[in-house]
Subunit: 430 residues, 2 copies
């Protein structure tokens, strides 16, 4: 964080009964905060209020005293419980006036869609006097920017797909233009798999100390770590240099675990690499029940390398669809490295794919034995006919999290197999 400069301090406000009643979670403020930080600002406080005009007036006046800017989302709709335009006008001590250009645009939009334009809709053309209209190409709610007691209020619509472009194209440029000597901020992200958060913190040492510049931060989810580097300097070049230097150290120190520098989704990284290298893949899933296939097929264009997947939940399915030897199942049980290997081999053979992964495990809550507790997972990988297996024992954090960890592990193992797979091993086996 930068020094305590009021002009860099920003307050975020979200309005709506559905927010303060807990029916919707305000995710806009987090998105806006990240964008502000990247631009060199310091988000200090989020406030969530119901559709209460008096409360909003009071809050805006108070926040304007201590912040250089206020970014507000919500309350710009056509109905009476949309109080943002009235509250902003009262907080600034101005009246509401009609914007003829916006009114004409709204009428034209309604005409194009064959909808009747009502008095209520005309409310969306009212703005506090002196406000700059922020256009909304994705909806009927135009935003506005308005000075309130030395702070710039930017009021944006609540729907994220309308809010985001308005933030980037109109609000941020206006907020930035008012500030002299804005620090230049550079940011990089690294995505890791398989390293515990505490182990990262131990190795990162004082990189993560509050106020450090560059500052390293980390968040963990499902075995993945997202590591951010944020560097601040008075020139863009200096910030880039400082950020790049710390980034290079991270690359060296954590090379073993980094799977991406831009894409946080391990399945997407694997999917894109498979497509780029034209390597076919299949999946044979037991305890994850289709989760790995679902994640992989989120990648557009994956059909070029993924023809089919198997959800073989029952033993009979493993035998019939994958050709697993019933004797193996009888001798070792379905959750075993032997069966994981046979599933991967069978999936590769029956699909003809160069890469195959299998997952068999105990996601709970039932099915555990003293030797095979909830969280035990065996994964098989077949790469050009060479089969390897891995065993993992995840904490029993519940069925959903075990399946999430197992699926991420599969994609990490596929990624590592992919690195080793020769580029020139020729056509798929069929």
């Amino acid at each position: 964080m930068s020094a305590l400069r009021r002009d860099l301090a920003v307050a975020l406000v979200a309005t709506g009964d559905e927010l303060v009643e807990g029916r919707h979670v305000d995710t806009n403020s987090s998105v806006i905060a990240r964008a502000l930080i990247d631009a060199g600002f310091e988000p200090r406080r989020f406030t969530v209020l119901g559709d209460d005009e008096d409360e909003l007036v009071r809050t805006l006046v108070e926040l304007a005293r201590e912040h250089g800017a206020i970014v507000l989302t919500g309350g710009l709709g056509p109905t009476l419980d949309d109080v943002t335009r009235h509250a902003a006008a009262r907080a600034a001590g101005v009246e509401l006036v009609q914007d003829e250009a916006v009114l004409a645009d709204l009428r034209a939009m309604f005409d194009r869609r064959g909808r009747t334009f009502s008095e209520a809709n005309a409310r969306q053309a009212m703005f506090p006097r002196g406000a700059h209209v922020l256009p909304n190409p994705n909806g009927t709610a135009a935003g506005f920017a308005l000075e309130i007691g030395g702070a710039l209020l930017c009021a944006l619509p609540g729907p994220p797909r309308e809010m985001r472009p308005m933030l980037v194209d109109h609000a941020l440029p206006r907020i930035t233009a008012r500030v002299v000597g804005l620090p230049c901020v550079e940011r990089r992200l690294f995505h890791l798999f398989g390293l515990p958060e505490s182990a990262f913190a131990d190795r990162a040492g004082d990189w993560m100390a509050r106020g450090a510049n560059p500052l390293v931060g980390v968040t963990a989810s499902g075995g993945r770590l997202s590591v951010s580097v944020r560097a601040e300097a008075s020139t863009r070049a200096d910030a880039q240099r400082v950020c790049a230097a710390r980034g290079a150290e991270i690359r060296t120190r954590f090379a073993e675990w980094i799977f991406s520098e831009d894409e946080p989704d391990l399945a997407a990284v694997v999917g894109r690499e498979l497509i780029a290298r034209n390597i076919t893949v299949t999946l044979a899933e037991s305890c994850t029940g289709g989760l790995a296939a679902e994640r992989l097929t989120r990648t557009p264009g994956i059909s070029a390398v993924f023809e089919l997947g198997f959800v073989t939940y029952a033993n009979r399915a493993k035998v019939e669809l994958l050709g697993v030897d019933p004797a193996l199942l009888a001798a070792h049980g379905a959750v075993s490295s032997q069966v994981a290997a046979a599933m991967a081999r069978g999936a590769a053979e029956r699909s003809g794919a160069r890469l195959a992964a299998s997952i068999t495990g105990i996601a709970g809550p039932g099915g555990a034995t003293p030797e095979k507790p909830v969280g035990l997972v065996h994964i098989g990988i077949s790469a050009d006919g060479v089969v390897t297996t891995e065993e993992r024992r995840f904490l029993d954090l519940g069925r959903d999290l075990i399946r999430d960890f197992a699926t991420n592990t599969v994609f990490d193992l596929l990624r590592r197999a992919l690195v080793r797979l020769p580029r020139d091993s020729g056509a798929p086996t069929r």
Copy 2:
């Protein structure tokens, strides 16, 4: 919402740099707000702050003036950036004192886990003088309840799995006990599929007007609507009566779309019904790539009725795994009612399941033609050998949302097929 009684007004606060920097979204406040509303309180304002002790002190003092209670999450950890205990003590004008019982518990917990107890850990046994400790069976961070200027502050840990039990078992009872004449609130939920939100609002009329009692609210996601009824009265019996009456009206007016009164997950409703009636099921997925199987297999115990699923992304997979006639694919294309029917029939035959569902569609962004736009989905259902198909044209809201809508539609069709399936149609077909 009830009348403007200060003793019923509650403020929620969440602290943490990761929140105000947008790296994590505060979901705790929404959970707490819903619990408070159900208990008859009125959440008025959420505030999110960084790990800034001075800001937190000032905020607590201000909020205590206008609210009967403040529920705060976060900042109870052992490190120096955990400022909640210090800030609360300063806001109340008291010092921090060590709680010997909590200290002994912490030492014992560390001993059991074979971890070294450090000076930092002892911080978690410090509480503002006069605070009541709120026990945490799920972690090291005990919470506390403390009077600040006439308001009760309840400080809870940030991790949801530690926060929730402490909220329900300790914080809510303390907040409730201070209030005289708390209105009795009854709440019911209804989960619907297939009705647009605007159509619900039209039919619900003034049930949804602000301040109505009972009050009906609705939230929409992926084709599903969650409809809540909230009734408030001075006695429990009256609240229950009012709530039940509106509930009965909803059941009558929306019977066609209601799939559950408690479980919001359509796949879980279907999964449990399949298990309860011992009806076997299989899935053959193209555009959803395993998403339906993944959702279905989230239900514990589903292995009793779900043996296997097919992810048949490519035409060849539809032919080889499901026995779809290549001539059908050539004549109608993979996204057609004919192929959907053949997929469902093949999946039922090859798995031996009584119920089978198939999904084939265009999730985008590629693959569309003028006749077959992104969002076109064909679904086949085979029930005891009788095959039906449905066509849906979803808006192009992006690949993920189209897959979500398609999957929810499959489970809605399975649910309807299940209602019609005779209980006594005997054993599975194999």
